[in-house]
Amino acid sequence: MQVILEQLINGLTIGSFYALIALGYTMVYGVLKLINFAHGDFFTFGSYLGYTVLVFGAAFLTAHFGLWGVLSVALLAAAISIAIVGVIVERLAYRPVYKAGRLPAVVSALGASIFIQNAIMVIWGPRFQAYPSELIPNAHLEIYGINISLLQVIILVMSFLLMGVLYFIVQKTTFGAAVRATAHDRKTAALMGININKVIFFVFTLGPALGAITGVMVGMYYRQISFTMGWNYGLKAFTASVLGGIGNIPGAMVGGLILGVLEMLGAAYISAAWKDVFVFIILILVLIFRPTGLLGEKTAEKV
C-alpha cells in the first residue's frame, strides 16, 4: 500500500511539471490557434537562468537574503526574464506572420525553438550543468509511513498553488472571461470590445513565466540540466494539453496530472521500457472517443 502511495506522489510530481508546461501550450493555442514549439525552450532557458543566478549569485544573495531568499530571487528572476523573452519572441517571430496563415506561424515557431536551443548551447556550453545541491535542506517527512522529501512537498505545494491562481484568474475574474472569450472566437471578441493585444500580452508573459518557474523547479529536483531537455518535456506537455483538451486551461492541468500518473502506472505495473507506449495508447483511445480531449468542448461542426 505504501509503495502505491509513494509511486502516486512520484506520478503527481512529474504530472505537475507537465501540467505547468502544458498551461503555456494551451493558453497560446487557445488564443492564437498556434502551437508554440518554442515553449519547451522557454522552460529550458528559465532553468539555465535559475542555474546562473544560483551558482554565480549564491554568495552575494545568501548574505543579503538568506537561503529561501536566494531561491525566491532565482525563481522571480527566471520568471520575469522569460516573460520578457516570451513577449520579444511573440513580437519578432509570431506577430508578423499572423496574417499569413497557420503554416508560416508553425514554421516560425520551430525556427524560434531551434534558435533558442542553440543560443543556450552557445552561451552555457553543450555539457550538462548541475544545480547546486543542498538548496533545500535534505529533510524527509514521514506521512502514513511513506517517505517524502521536503523538496517534493515544496514542489507539489508550489505547483498546485500556481495552478490554483491561474485557474482563479481565468475562471473567476473579468479579465479571465476576456481570455476565454478570445480563445473561443478571436474576431468576435475583438468586435465585443476586448483588447486582443492585452490578452495576447497576458498569455505570452504568464505562459513562459510558468514555464520558467517549472524549469527552475526541475533543476532543483533533478539537478542536471541540458540544453536539449526542452524537447522531451515540451513533447510530453503538448501531449498532456491535447489529452486535456487543447485551448482549455483546466484541461491542461488535468491532462498533465493524468499523464504523470499514467506514466507512473505504466512504468510501475507494466514495464519501465514500455511506459511511453502505454501512455500514447491511452492518448489515442481518448482521442478516438473524445476528439477534443477530456475537458474539451464538443464544438458542433458547421456543415
Binding site: N10, G125, P126, F128, R223
Partner: protein, 382 residues
C-alpha cells in the same frame, strides 16, 4: 551581372586550386563524434585526444614522406540520424583517407552502413555492441573491446565479490545498453541455472528523461544485492542520486559508459563515492611507453588526462590509420582495409599492441573493476 558571375567563378576556381595544392602535403583523417549533445563530454575528449595524437605524429616527421596528418572533425550530436548525416558529409570529401567513428553503438550503426556502402575505412572507438562486427563488413574496425567480454567479466567477478544472490540489471534500450545487458544475462545463465544467483529485475529506462523514481521504486521492492546499470553516464548520475534518495542501499555497478568525471560531477561526491564500474583500463592505468608519452602531451595542453578510455581508443584509431597509410604507402581504401585486417598485428599503441581479428574486432582487451573513491577519483579495485 555577367561580369560579377565571371568574377565569382574565377575566385571559386582559384580557391579550389589553392586547396588542391595545399592538400597534397597532408593526409586528412576524419573524426566523427558527439561534439555536442548528451555525450558532448566524451566527444570533446575524443577530439582533443586525436589532436594530440596527430600532433605527436607530425612532430616525428609525419607519414608517407613527410606529409602532415590533418584532422577533420564532424559532429554527430550523439544521435543516430545525425550520425548518418555526418557520415554522408565525410564520404563526400575526396581527401578524407579514413574515418574514426564514433562513440555510441546506436550512432555507429547507421554511420558505418554508409561508410561500408561508400567503401571508406571507419574505425570505431566507443562502440562495443557485439553485432557491429557480425555484419560481414569489410571496412569497419574497432579499437575498443566488445560487450560479451564485459558481460563475462561481470559474471565471473561481481557476484562473488559482493556475495550477491539477487542481481538487478537495468539498461536503456540503446544498441549498446541493451546489448551489454543481454550479454551479461547470457553470461550469468549458467549460474542462474545452477541456482547460485537470480536476476530479480531486468528492465529498461528511457534515456533523455530525468525522472526514474518510478522504475527505481520497483527495483527497490525486488530487494537486489547488487545493481548493474548498462547505460550511459547522463542517466547513471540521475539514477544513482534518485536511488539513494528513495532508500536503495545496494552497491551500484555501472557498465563501461556509466562512470566518468562528468558522472561524479553531476551526482555529487557524496552519492558517487562507492560506486563501481566494469571498465577497460583507464588512461592513467595504462603501462605502455606510448601511453606515458601521449598522456604527458595531453596533460601539457589540456590540464589533465582523459577520464575515460574511449578518447584513448580514438587516438589509437588515428595512430593505426597513420601507421597503415605509412607502411602500405597508399591512401586507397580497399588496400588500407586489407592491410589493417591482415598485416596489423602487435603494432604498438597507446592501449597496448593493436591487432584486428578477421571481423574487425580489437584483439585482447582486458577488463578491471573500478571504484569511485572518497576524493572522486576512479581507481582500480580488487
Amino acid at each position: 551581372m555577367k561580369k560579377d558571375v565571371l568574377a565569382i567563378c574565377a575566385l571559386f576556381l582559384v580557391i579550389m586550386a589553392g586547396t588542391a595544392i595545399a592538400a597534397k602535403d597532408t593526409v586528412v583523417i576524419g573524426l566523427q563524434g558527439p561534439i555536442t549533445g548528451a555525450w558532448a563530454y566524451e566527444g570533446q575528449m575524443a577530439k582533443q585526444s586525436c589532436e594530440i595524437a596527430a600532433d605527436l605524429i607530425n612532430k616525428k616527421g609525419g607519414i608517407l614522406g613527410g606529409k602532415k596528418v590533418v584532422l577533420k572533425v564532424v559532429d554527430d550530436a550523439g544521435e543516430p540520424k545525425s550520425g548518418a548525416l555526418a557520415a554522408q558529409k565525410l564520404v563526400t570529401q575526396k581527401d578524407v583517407v579514413a574515418v574514426i567513428s564514433t562513440y555510441g553503438s546506436s550512432v555507429c550503426e547507421p554511420a558505418s552502413n554508409i561508410y561500408e556502402k561508400f567503401k571508406k575505412v571507419n574505425i570505431g572507438y566507443g562502440v562495443t555492441a557485439v553485432r557491429l562486427t557480425q555484419r560481414n563488413f569489410k571496412y569497419f574496425f574497432r579499437t575498443c573491446g566488445r560487450d560479451d567480454s564485459q558481460g563475462k567479466f561481470f559474471a565471473e567477478y561481481v557476484p562473488k565479490k559482493f556475495n550477491a544472490k539477487r542481481i538487478a540489471i537495468m539498461h536503456d534500450n540503446t544498441a549498446f545498453g541493451k546489448g551489454l545487458a543481454e550479454d551479461t544475462k547470457a553470461a550469468l545463465a549458467a549460474m542462474v541455472k545452477a541456482g547460485k544467483v537470480s536476476i530479480v529485475y531486468y528492465d529498461a529506462i528511457t534515456p533523455g528523461e530525468k525522472d526514474f523514481k518510478v522504475p527505481l521504486t520497483t527495483l527497490r521492492e525486488t530487494k537486489p544485492d547488487v545493481w548493474y546499470f548498462t547505460g550511459y553516464y547522463a542517466e547513471a548520475a540521475l539514477l544513482v542520486t534518485q536511488a539513494r534518495d528513495i532508500g536503495i542501499t545496494c552497491p551500484f555497478v555501472g557498465g563501461n559508459a556509466a562512470i566518468n568525471d562528468e558522472f561524479v560531477k553531476i551526482a555529487g561526491l557524496k552519492v558517487a563515492t562507492g560506486c563501481y564500474m566494469t571498465n577497460e583500463p583507464l588512461p592513467g592505468d595504462l603501462p605502455y611507453p606510448m601511453a606515458k608519452e601521449f598522456l604527458a602531451a595531453y596533460k601539457a595542453k589540456f590540464g589533465n588526462i582523459p577520464s575515460s578510455p574511449w578518447p584513448i581508443y580514438a587516438a589509437d584509431a588515428l595512430n593505426v590509420i597513420a601507421y597503415a597509410v605509412d607502411k602500405s604507402g597508399t591512401t586507397d581504401s580497399t588496400k588500407l582495409a586489407a592491410f589493417l585486417r591482415d598485416q596489423v598485428n602487435g603494432v604498438p599503441g597507446i592501449t597496448g599492441p593493436i591487432g584486428f581479428t578477421k571481423d574487425g574486432d580489437r584483439e585482447g582487451v582486458p577488463f578491471y573493476l573500478y571504484k569511485v573513491d572518497d576524493s572522486g577519483k576512479i581507481v582500480v579495485t580488487k
